[in-house]
Point group: C2
Chain length 193, copies 2
DNA sequence: ACCAATTTGGAACGCTTGTTTCAAATTGGT
DNA sequence: ACCAATTTGAAACAAGCGTTCCAAATTGGT
């Protein structure tokens, strides 16, 4: 049998995530990837097929990790107000800790590519839908426990919360400071009361 | 004296806006611009210097037109709730009428480039600030007229409204339908009550 | 009608893009 | 120790990128 790869595929995929996340698909060149992953061109191409496939794999890995965390948080929610506040705070802390202002890989990709690439549009849409559905379930549960007084539908509120999350991450990517982020989250939370 | 240009610079600039708006900076090639504007390469380069300059001019034109309209609307506001609702509805109508799902040129650009290009970052930041300030003024006025019960600061609310506008346009760019857009706007408006 | 200024068209530039090729190096199994 | 499979490195690929060049065409002013 042959020799084994002397690098870890997933570890490299994580590096690819960060490269694409920072500069987007078009602005990240094959050379950037070779340099950033620290492997040879050949290895890159015979491991990940091509740039687009590597991008797709990167996006899927990101989605599983990040969205997975959020779905868990929502499923374990006991107090919907606290849960949403916690989600907002996590986002704010993460974005403020990121010196590269990367924002959200999923949102960035949606803006850059979802109008021009059907497969990527599907990944983005499926992700949005799963988060939205988890939000609906958590809000519905909170409503039954008397935690939600807002008379609008749970789905409408869920779509609003999701939109606010997107907005926070676009805001962070544009270089806003913590106070702005906190203000947006505070006003959004106020609307749930 | 020499012959005059046989095309209108601003008219062509508007075409450039639409091209960059649709596909973004990196994905719009010089060839796309030549085809889309319908002029020769030479004319393009000796009129607009280069691709980056053309992009910058396009972005500034968009900013003056769109933001100008919004600032006017806000300055003439008599009922802040109605004004915000009207702004949201205009955005929804415009986005739903756009078969190309272009979203907002300013938001798209912020996501694609503002982290990597200082000059463009400045244009985006200045734009955001002017809209935010106009929102603060209009909210402040509404507050004095008893139209705003929300106890949070006018600036916080302004930043939230601006974020919601961004979110609406990212949502539209991702391909969402009218109902989703309307739901987001409805919940956001509820928070002003 | 002519001159001078400017635009125009088309070819060509050098460079970077994403991708492929292939021989050499490496390694596990027998 | 050898074979077979696989990875690796470096060079090369064609295609497309943004940009420049220059001769030809066009036009206003005198």
């Amino acid at each position: 049998m042959p020799r084994k790869k002397d690098f870890d595929e997933d570890e490299l995929l994580e590096k690819a995530v960060n490269l694409f996340w920072k500069k987007g698909y078009h602005a990240t060149s094959a050379q950037d990837l070779v340099d950033g992953l620290g492997i040879n061109r050949s290895s890159l191409y015979n491991t990940y097929t091509d740039k687009r496939t590597l991008f797709t794999k990167s996006l899927k890995m990101y989605q599983q990790q990040r969205t997975g965390l959020m779905l868990n948080t929502l499923q374990q929610s006991q107090d919907i107000g606290e849960t949403i506040k916690q989600i907002f705070n996590n986002i704010i802390d993460e974005d403020m800790a990121d010196t590269m202002q990367k924002g959200c890989f999923m949102v960035n990709t949606a803006v850059e590519l979802s109008g021009q690439d059907q497969e990527i549009n599907n990944i983005v849409s499926a992700n949005n839908q799963s988060v939205e559905d988890a939000l609906v379930a958590a809000i519905e549960k909170g409503r039954q426990n008397g935690q939600v007084l807002n008379p609008l539908t749970s789905r409408a509120i869920a779509q609003f919360i999701f939109a606010t999350i997107s907005a926070l991450r676009v805001t962070a990517r544009s270089g806003a400071g913590r106070q702005v982020m906190q203000n947006i989250a505070d006003v959004a939370l106020y609307s749930l009361k």
